[in-house]
């Protein structure tokens, strides 16, 4: 179970890298980018 949680977290972090390097993903809206990550 712990291993699955670690893998799931790692996959989400990888996906974040993918999403944040695109101009905008998918359709016509997306959630607000966390301001803390802009610093």
């Amino acid at each position: 179970m712990q291993k699955s949680i670690n893998i799931f977290s790692a996959v989400l972090l990888k996906l974040f890298g993918l999403v944040s390097s695109s101009s905008c993903y998918g359709e016509f809206g997306e959630p607000d980018y966390p301001k803390e990550l802009l610093k």
């Binding site: 712990q2 972090l13 695109s22 993903y25 998918g26």
Partner: protein
Amino acid sequence: MIESVSSFITDYLSKNNSSLNETDLLKINYTLQVILGSLTKLAIIFFIFLYLNQLPLFFLSFVILNSTRPLAGGLHCETFMSCLIVSIIYFISVTLFSTLSPKFNIYFYIIFFIISFIIILRYAPCPNEKRPIKNKEKLKVLSLISLAFWTMLFFKLPNIQICNCIFISIFFQIIQLIIFNMKGVVFNAKIYKHFFSSIT
């Protein structure tokens, strides 16, 4: 609701994975909101097109949209609901045009794709102001490659519906780039808060 589900999963991961720091949790929460929001919209649109019996054209327009928009960028809506409505109108417009429009003169298409290349070269990518991007040159090159791929497919394929679908999808993308650069950046508000607070 999407924000709540994302926060719940993020909390669970934070309690069960001690290696995650605060920045990681923010990234995970954002990614979950993106995934859950997209899946919700996609599921609703999928069932609409399933009901309309137009799934193949929907899949094609979805593939074209997702191979151009993440690279070149585009306009955003301020709320989840308006985004959903615009997405539905977008896919229905593409499907209607693809099935109903005749094929135009070949020179019209040649001029259109040349103009598209110029606009992509000049204006892409146009990112969301609230999420600045660093790899602009790479995205511009990928946008041009994507456009080149769809242009080649357009001129190779004999099927009018597929060609119309490619043409109108690229047309909508180019129009967005033009509007974007005329009006400046249109960014999102708190889309999920707006939507879910108004329906709950």
